[in-house]
Symmetry: C2
Subunit: 329 residues, 2 copies
DNA sequence: CTGAAAGCGCTTACAG
DNA sequence: CTGAAAGCGCTTACAG
């Protein structure tokens, strides 16, 4: 690989001069031409790490998610990478697996001048790493600290789901959630749902299956549904779940119980997943604007890196999408 | 952040001495103790990029796939990251989007001393970048060059699919594929299928929907199926597809055509996808040992980085998995 | 405007 | 065994 030195001697100028044209600073037209010529001839490529030693910028971002087997996280990472690429940044992918040590390990990267910033979805109590002097963006979780948060309108999503279930004729609503209770932003889905049900004087129940149900959901879901049935007839006729993945599991169990969707029970999930991110929605759902969230997150992070002002929290709108598990009205 | 200099002065030794204990070289027990003490007290963390300037190793690997919206690619990347993390490597995630320029951009990274090696799935004719002096591992595609290839036994997979369809009672078999014809390893799926059909003297047809069908498959698939029906009765009763994604699309169209799976037509896909990588298989399928492939790929890459000998090509075994779209025998 | 030099955080011969 | 020094590829005051 050619270095800046090779370019300098090839062009017959000092390395400082080469550095200047590389960084778009002013040099005489004559020298600029010579340097550019040499760069081309030698196929010179800047070593950003060497530069980073002085400038403290590596043009590298760490993205942390629990894992990319979850289609929603995969979709988020997909869009973040696209956005980052456009802006000349490279992306470290870090899967925390929900393990605090692995999360901490990756969070530490940033303090070693290895990345310019960090963004993603964290679930553990690593707040200590977010000291405010490190550019960071967190999705769906609001820190008390100075970390930017990007989220979609979860409360409104819950409201929308209730509205749709009611519009489709459901009268006995059920909300089911799983997972960590730490991610406070997503808790608002249930809150919005309950709020709308109260406003409409609709009968509803809130069901929290907890963390374990994320990994072995069949059991818990089946029992929960069964215990709400009498003589083959369910005590609910409309279900909203905290994620599409959970909605799919619920539908599978309803199927086992010979309950037809959407005829007997309507189901609405949350996230708006589609296979390969195109074509039909997997279930009727409250869709998050993932691409916009990714873009907003990247923009917010870059503003922090450039030491510009940023919003503390950004909330993007959600929409209802039809996926065949609700009655069309 | 503390630097090696800070540690040296804190411990009262020369920076070279600190470097030695950091790299496990021999120093007096006394100095070793002092340095380790200072490292702990100052919370020193090595800057690997600075080290890389001298050593040429960054402990960073670039992984290239078309995108991670494809669940198979996501699963591969998932396991690669886990493996790399264990070994102290960080992973750049590069989504080529099948665009030659983006692929080339990322391939160039390696030649800039930014990564120690590169692995993944490439589809474009960027062979020129694989010159043999760059550690590289490619999945599912055999280069004429000196690049390592990791693959599962695609030919055997095709055979297995044919065997299973026949065992389940199908007599008129159909193979459907889509996508680029460049990935020579996956072409073997059809070859194995055809070979087994011939061996068993079974009637079969090979159908190639080409590249476009990857993006808007509904049309092409529906027409292809329709043209093979007469009076509502299909001319086939067993289908093997080149991927699970395609199998799902085919099943959707069969559904539209009122053809029941697996009663009327059995369907077997390829890859062995499961939602979130656990639970039931999405369709009956030929499962690739993704985790083993990831592990083998990482090991092969690290051997290259350490300049050890490696196999040119590694082929791992596949298995048939039941996913509800074949008749149980 | 441009060149020579110091320095970013590390490693590695080279003396001692 | 250990310290002083040079150098990895770059940037950035500082003279000129």
């Amino acid at each position: 690989m050619a270095t800046i030195k090779d370019v300098a001697s090839d062009a017959g100028v000092a390395v400082g001069t080469v550095s200047k044209v590389l960084n778009g600073q002013y040099v005489s037209a004559e020298n600029k031409r010579k340097v550019e010529e040499s760069v081309r001839r030698l196929g010179y490529q800047m070593n950003y790490y060497a530069r980073g030693l002085k400038t403290r910028y590596t043009y590298t971002i760490a993205v942390i998610v629990p894992d990319i087997l979850n289609p929603f996280f995969a979709c988020l990472v997909y869009h973040i990478e696209k956005e980052l690429y456009k802006l000349g940044y490279k992306m470290f992918l870090c899967q925390s697996q929900m393990e605090p040590e692995k999360e901490a390990y990756y969070l530490r990267l940033v303090s070693q001048n290895k990345v310019d910033g960090i963004m993603g979805i964290t679930f553990n109590e690593n707040d200590a790493y977010f000291t405010g002097d490190i550019p960071a963006v967190i999705f769906d979780r609001h820190f008390r600290g100075p970390v930017c948060c990007i989220s979609s309108d979860n409360f409104r999503g819950g409201e929308l789901a209730a509205e749709r279930l009611l519009a489709g004729g459901s009268r006995k609503l059920l909300y089911i959630r799983t997972g960590s209770s730490l991610s406070s932003e997503t808790l608002k889905r249930g809150q919005g749902f309950a709020s709308k049900c109260q406003e409409r004087h609709a009968s509803y129940e809130m069901l929290d299956l907890g963390d374990d149900a994320d990994f072995y959901p069949e059991q818990g879901i089946l029992e929960a549904l069964k215990s709400r049935m009498e003589g083959g007839v369910p005590s609910f006729d409309g279900i909203y779940t905290s994620t599409d993945g959970l909605a799919l599991e619920v539908i599978k169990q309803l199927d086992h119980l010979q309950i037809q969707v959407p005829r007997d029970v309507q189901v609405i999930g949350h996230d708006g997943l589609r296979r390969m991110n195109r074509g039909d929605y997997l279930v009727s759902s409250i869709a998050q604007p993932v691409e916009d969230m990714a873009r907003a997150g990247v923009e917010c992070l870059l503003r922090q890196i450039r030491k510009e002002e940023t919003e503390d929290i950004t909330i993007l709108p959600v929409t209802f999408v039809e996926g065949g598990t609700t009655r069309i009205t």
